[in-house]
Symmetry: C2
Subunit: 346 residues, 2 copies
């Protein structure tokens, strides 16, 4: 038994809780003119920028599971997932606003843990936590992250700009977060069956890290700038490569061919997929939450990316609309299917 | 029996649902460069504006009750509550992003109703619905509204700008939404006891409207501009006058005296409060969700507001920090208490 005491949120009240939690927040960007404490946050990007904004809602038992997701990691992850959309526009994330709905099972100390993760992510990505809302809910935990970023107008990259016969690139490697999830779910089942059981998580560091404390690709936006590449289209991979590839190509009015033997995978993801009797390619195509960036570039930019350690050219766009093809290692063509993670079962 | 058929959300899937719902969305503002359909919305306010942003989360059984809140009204209300924060900065709302988490009891037709209300509010306030997120939840309904607005830097009004011996003003009248809630709760209890019962809501139009389909005060921001008044501080009244008055004065480092006999109330709110054996003043001070604006102005601006039908001068600030006083009709002084609606019981 430990002698940790817990403080009920009721003891502080809504505004007391907000005061308590807000104390640790730092501001990194001059553009954040006013943070938490008024009706609104106030932002000023000056004359030469457009503003990009996205919002993402995360639900207990749908997007995360508190049985195995430590609250600090969860706080980190929701910020990463939120600002990943900003980088997917080739923009730089500057601010987040975060709403919470927490049940009365949550203590002030639990909120502190969640905030510690949020603040760690804000610190790492130099993003300002400028506003939010905190309320109660009958059961569980809901977190909504609104992310705001800036970019010069001419640098913003949309999903619908891919042309025909352009190169399709992806950052990092794929499938790790999904294989990490499989391990967490496996250990959870054993644990629920026998609470004495100590989960075996050694040796799974890479994939568990990809799932529990993922990073998003601010560095890719910085690298693209250095390489003087403005992608013709870009999207972040949150629902699996297949699903995002189809979004991007559909909106751009092009088809695609991607090559199985080009898909980037970490050796440990590969080995663990095999351990679960899964095809590693399926994990790369359909596993969610990788938060890598998928983008298209003109052929002229090939020399700039071809030996870059962060990027892999996985295929090319085609002029056949609605034809999204995977070329297998054996040379066969199979249509890609958006079998990524589906919240409504379709 | 009616022959209305319901479509399960699963039949459309997440992206099908978003496509279906997004079709009805119109764009009013040139600043909305990109709406729903990419990783982010893109906004451009040009050179002379700062951006204000707020986020609010609404939870079934905490902020609303689907037993008596029609979905269309609920959609309207969450937009109004969201953008009210923008007007409270003396700014003009331009965009909203809205996240939904809905249980599998929700049909596509129910989402259509909710969207109809959202779109009606966007239409009325000329605000663009530019992004969001839609997901599932085990039980109930969660809606998060992020509201974005613009104002010239010099026009933005914060909570902390009130000086000593300034006038305290409020728009419209108070307590109506709270009395409306009491009626809805009363009729709900009778209904739950006897489902054959038809709720008696005739004659309560004003207070029910204030609760179920409230309006926020875009017009006040426009009027202040015409009157050439920039308030020294401002806040919207969502948690009751007392609570907001204390926020505003605490942040400004001033005290206040407000006069019971000046507080504005609609005759029907007054009568109905009496029917419930409640003190109408208590309803005005502590009832939530009025979405009126509370602001301070310099004494020099008194002539501009004194006979204005939208504004009531209810008191003045004082130099006694942490002294928030109500002067009763009988001339006694009582400290104001923040007894507004508390989600965490304090």
């Amino acid at each position: 038994m430990t002698d940790i005491t817990f403080t009920e949120i009721n003891q502080l009240g809504e505004f007391g809780l907000i005061d308590h939690l807000s104390k640790k927040i730092k501001i990194y960007n001059d553009s954040s003119k006013k943070g938490i404490g008024d009706d609104c946050a106030v932002i000023d990007y000056g004359n030469d920028f457009q503003t990009v904004v996205s919002t993402d809602i995360f639900i207990d038992k749908v997007h995360f599971d508190l049985v195995y997701a430590p609250l600090k990691h969860l706080g980190y992850k929701v910020v990463v997932a939120g600002i990943s959309d900003i980088y997917a526009m080739n923009a730089m994330a500057q601010q987040v606003l975060i709403s919470f709905a927490v049940s009365n099972k949550f203590s002030v100390e639990m909120m502190d843990e969640l905030y510690a993760g949020i603040i760690a992510a804000c610190d790492h990505y130099q993003v300002d936590f400028v506003g939010g809302d905190t309320t109660t809910i009958e059961k569980g935990l809901v977190i909504n992250v609104t992310a705001i970023g800036k970019a010069p107008k001419e640098n913003i990259v949309y999903r619908n700009g891919a042309g025909k016969n352009e190169l399709i690139c992806v950052s990092g490697d794929l499938g790790g977060a999904y294989v990490g999830l499989l391990i967490l779910e496996r250990e959870k089942l054993i644990y629920l069956d026998n609470p004495e059981f100590v989960p075996k998580l050694d040796g799974y560091d890479y994939v568990l890290g990809k799932n529990l404390k993922p990073e998003c690709r601010k560095d890719v936006v910085e690298t693209l700038k250095i390489l003087e590449i403005i992608p013709t289209s870009m999207i972040d991979i949150s629902d699996g490569l297949s699903s995002e590839m189809i979004h991007l190509c559909s909106q751009s009015g092009v088809g695609c061919k991607i090559f199985e033997d080009k898909l980037p995978i970490d050796p440990s993801t590969y080995e663990l997929a095999r351990e679960f009797n899964l095809d590693p390619t399926t994990c790369m195509l359909n596993g969610g939450e990788d938060y890598e960036l998928l983008f298209t570039i003109k052929q002229d930019d090939y020399e700039k990316v071809k030996n870059h350690p962060d990027f892999t050219v996985i295929g090319h766009t085609s002029d056949v609309e609605n034809s999204f093809m995977l070329i297998t290692k054996s040379g066969n063509e199979h249509p890609l299917k958006a079998q990524g993670w589906k919240v409504f079962g379709k």
